[in-house]
Amino acid sequence: MKDTIKLGLVLLLVTSIAGGILAGVNSITSPVIAERQRMESLSAILELFPDADDSVEYDEGQIAEISASYPSIREITEVISDGETIGYAITTVTGGYGGDITTLVGVKADGALAGIKVLVMSETPGLGARIVDEPAFAESFQNKGAGGSVTPSGEGAGEDEVMMLSGATVSTNAVVKGVNEALDAFANYLSN
């Protein structure tokens, strides 16, 4: 009994030291990572909405209200051009095969997708990672979704259909789930 407690304490000590060191390293690297991700999402918004000249980020209270119904949604940015709202850039986080996938979903003011861009993912190289490596995947979302949602199917040629990556069903579905939540949130909250 005494021995067991001693072993437990040793393990506790080792894991505490390890946790402390990692917390230290994290405090150095996380601001660098966060800053880089912010820059990337800004330039990504411009990729989806080339005409954008201004943007308004929703604050945490507004996000909390929307993410209560749509848990994937983390950030919403209203995209403005010439003083008019031309759409919304919605950041969603969904569970993929190798961890969370962060996708920026551009919804135009008319309810169709301006496009999508996967910002962060750690899917299997050569399989799930094709959500980033195959430009045709993201392109297949453009101008779809006016009917309120998209469905993955084959090459994604049909109306409101997007490309289904064979061998990467989980990754494809994760991206599609985020996109559909963004479309729902747009229809029910943002378009009013």
Partner: protein, 199 residues
Amino acid sequence: MKISTIFKNGIIKENPVLVQLIGMCSVLAITNTVENSLAMSAAVIAVLLLSNIVISSIRKLIPSKIRIPIFIVIIATFVTMVEMFMEAYAVDLYRSLGIFIPLIVVNCLILARAESFASKNGVFISAMDGLAMGLGYSIAIIALGTVREIFGSGSFLGMSLFGENFQAAAVFVSPAGAFILLGIIIGIFNVTIKNKATN
């Protein structure tokens, strides 16, 4: 133990990839390009060296009943550090290696060196062992990466070698091609370098 013996063991006689055949999962997955192989080599050498140094320096304080969990915690700490630094300062590499960086934790090469070497030897000699095994691993995966990139993508370190008419053998890009190639490399390694070195 002589340092030259340690290096000879790590690189030739007990080469982790070509002789011990451990840590195959990441070897087959990430050796599709030379750049990925180099990055993985650097990450594995860093983790192996640091974990061997730390484990050998506290080896007398570790109760033997819980040594494995302690080794894993130490290895996981270093892997997570490498991962965080890579994500902050080498994003492209971080993206191309993806899930295989955190999976270094379960690479049995590192736990095997901790258990069979670092927990029984001094700090300096364990550091040398980590370096030698890391080099053996690196040489093998860089060789694999070189052949796979040349035949599978017609390039070396991203530079195109043969011009546009080159018909790439796509099988070398997939893990299946890596398996076939690994077998061939092990065969060549056995009849040339290893047999000479052991006799």
